[in-house]
Assembly symmetry: C2
Homo-oligomer: 268 residues x 2
């Protein structure tokens, strides 16, 4: 069981920013990654649809024999984490708690910004989690639907990205936020642009690293850490367009992605 | 049979720009519209996936008793029209031939631009169709993946839209195009911005109106025109998020959209 892989899934390639941190923090672990590229993006879809997609991704990963699962997608975490945790026996870790904890530690003003997809911001999942830690925190959420396509187009370091970031983020700056959670796994690639737009005084929180730490804690608690020092195996599955996943994904993961396999996810 | 509805489908809301023209040109016709909002966008998906989705949309519309079908989506037309026309007995009209014909009539330089999704431009469907009319035409294709999210965000008349349009279209202008096909049903909302960017000398072709004319000819040829002057009925189905379809769709259609129903399209 300890040598079984960890299952990681996302709506597409964004989850690779989380995968990268998991690979760093847990270098012994075997991993199976699934990107639902046939149905990306999740951000504008209804809660019911995203929850159905999460169930299918988990069923697929269970068939691959995973010992634990990471939902490396903010929208899927916001919409489905508590539901799927009740349904399955193995540990399931989302990306939201990690970002919440870090942002709450970093804020002095008590005014925290959260940016993400329409689904994530609309669900108010970050806000509810933060308020459960401190009822005095003020959470300013802002959906930024153009950030994902900007990153996928490879334009995250351009003037276009900066103008769009101003449109979305100027109001958060005026609201007096002093920390800002990147509540979508695509957004870490926009960190430099976002930092310029919100100013150096605002601390930017990328939940990916903290999520990897959460996963380590969870595996430890369940005595599931892989202690064998062998070269880990990484397997990649997508529901459409493996070529594009490989091309764009390498930017996210900073390493080559080979042998990507197609899966008919709607069968699960 | 003549009073049966026309079936129109698209990956989401873009097809409403085509629907609007059909309503104008054929005011007696009953219409069933299906928008595949659970799986939008089609533009970045593989040919196999888009073709499978087209079959499902057509099977659903046939169950609604339609007498003819319009594929109001350039990507789905490019990827699947010839395949589905072989498979089904009823007339099926796409959006590409209409745009090709108009652009070929309008060009003097013989250099024609075509903009659309990655799927449409990558398929070279417009180019092959144009070359079959005149082998001397030069076709300059350009995928513009950010145009769809810009329109869905309601930013089609902003400085952001104009900067993005310059990034995509300046090279077409330098290539000497004198007509430009809007090869994606979202793009008509960007007409003013695109016209400013490419200059007044370039004629912009919106295939929607010509597609409605093609449909009229086809119905006439098959003796399927509805000659009863009663108030037509319009039905709308989507695979996800009817509320959002209604909100955003009204901008496309310039009329209220009521009674939208959900359909589980993967069952078809």
């Amino acid at each position: 069981m300890k040598e079984s892989p960890i299952g990681v899934f996302d709506s597409g390639i964004g989850g690779l920013t989380v995968l990268k941190e998991i690979m760093n923090v847990l270098p012994n672990e075997n991993i199976v990654y699934f990107g639902d590229t046939a149905r990306v993006p999740y951000g504008s879809r209804s809660a019911e649809t995203v929850t159905k997609y999460a169930f299918q991704s988990i069923n697929f990963l269970l068939e691959k024999g995973v010992k634990a699962i990471v939902i490396a997608c903010n929208t899927a975490t916001a919409r489905s984490l508590s539901i799927v945790q009740q349904k399955y026996d193995i540990p399931i870790v989302g990306v939201i708690k990690a970002g919440v904890r870090t942002a709450m530690e970093l804020t002095s003003s008590g005014v925290v910004g959260v940016i993400g997809t329409e689904g994530t911001v609309g669900s108010r999942a970050y806000e509810l989690e933060m308020k459960s830690i401190s009822s005095r925190v003020q959470v300013k959420g802002k959906a930024c639907p153009l950030f994902v396509p900007i990153v996928e187009e490879g334009w995250h370091d351009t003037d276009v990205a900066e103008i769009i970031a101003h449109r979305y983020l100027d109001e958060l700056r005026e609201d007096g936020i002093d920390s800002l959670v990147l509540g979508c796994t695509h957004y870490p690639l926009l960190t430099d642009t976002i930092q310029r737009v919100v100013g150096e005084a605002v601390k930017i929180v990328n939940p990916a690293k903290e999520t990897a730490m959460d996963l380590m804690d969870t595996l430890q608690k369940h005595k599931l850490l892989n202690e064998r020092g062998a070269q880990p195996s990484y397997e990649y599955y997508v529901s459409d367009n493996p070529e594009k996943f490989s091309q764009v994904g390498e930017k996210f993961l900073n390493r080559a992605i080979d042998g990507i396999k197609l899966v008919e996810i709607q069968k699960y």
